[in-house]
Amino acid sequence: MIRVAAVGDIHMGAESQGVLRPAFDTLPDCADLLLLAGDLTRHGTPEEARVVAREVKGLAVPVVAVLGNHDHHDDQPEKVTGILQDADVTVLEGQSTVLDCAGTRVGVAGTKGFGGGFVGRSAGEFGEPLMKEFVRYSRRCADGLRGALDELRERDCEARIALTHFSPVADTLAGEPLEIYPFLGSYLLAEAIDTGGADLSVHGHAHMGTEHGMTAGGVRVRNVAQPVIRRAFNVYQLHTADEGAARV
């Protein structure tokens, strides 16, 4: 069993230092790793990124993150990434990482992702250059996630997790106005997850959404935006394939 702690949308600013650390310090008692599902800062400034970095530096569990749209706002995502990496956070964008959690190999594939909407109600790659680029960018993010999940399949993981900021499904947006769904996620992410394969999908971004959802392929999806889970993080106990075989 893998114990996965996850939270997104912590939106840290100058006055936030220390608010999450007491809860994060309890992680070794209840979790094997911490996933951060983007929007770690308010404006994506290096100063805000340093607040986040100090909040997670030296934790007793590995920390894996993707950035969110807020973390891009100051147009310095590479700098934000670097500051987090200096605090030993693994930051994924179209990449994967494999962690050894108490002898179990856990793979995490991540991308920020982007919008576009869901099947039958989605933006098309058509018309003005900006519109085409909008959809192409979303597709590049999803392709990056698919590639990262494919890599994990080759690396003998007992559990695979897809980590995104934008949502792969509409289920976990319930509570948000329908009109803004195309800005909250894309079915392209779900298609990547179902094609590449994963045991769990974790995202943030939709503050007014719902925690539980599922892709069309049956992968469980959890919206861990902090306003949704109303805690410093949530923990998911994920049973591995080997355990399942042992139970049979």
């Binding site: 912590i10 503050h207 889970i229 410093a232 993080f233 923990v235």
Partner: protein, 85 residues
Amino acid sequence: MTGPAGNIEYRVAHLRERLAAEELGELGVRVEVRGQAVVITGTVPSAECRDILLRTAREELADLAVHSDVVVAENTSPDHAEELP
């Protein structure tokens, strides 16, 4: 006020633009017109953010009633895990 400048819907839209553009970078709260009043709901990262949010709203919508149900994010550890068999 009459004309577009006095239209409550546009004023709410301008408030939302300010909340996103200014120091809060806030896109996650809901601002809705209810009769002659405006209701603001959602979760913000800190009490300071809530103060700034409400101050900005009362500035922008000075002559309107502004009702708030904005809560501050909770930072406690969970008391149980969800099992995913």
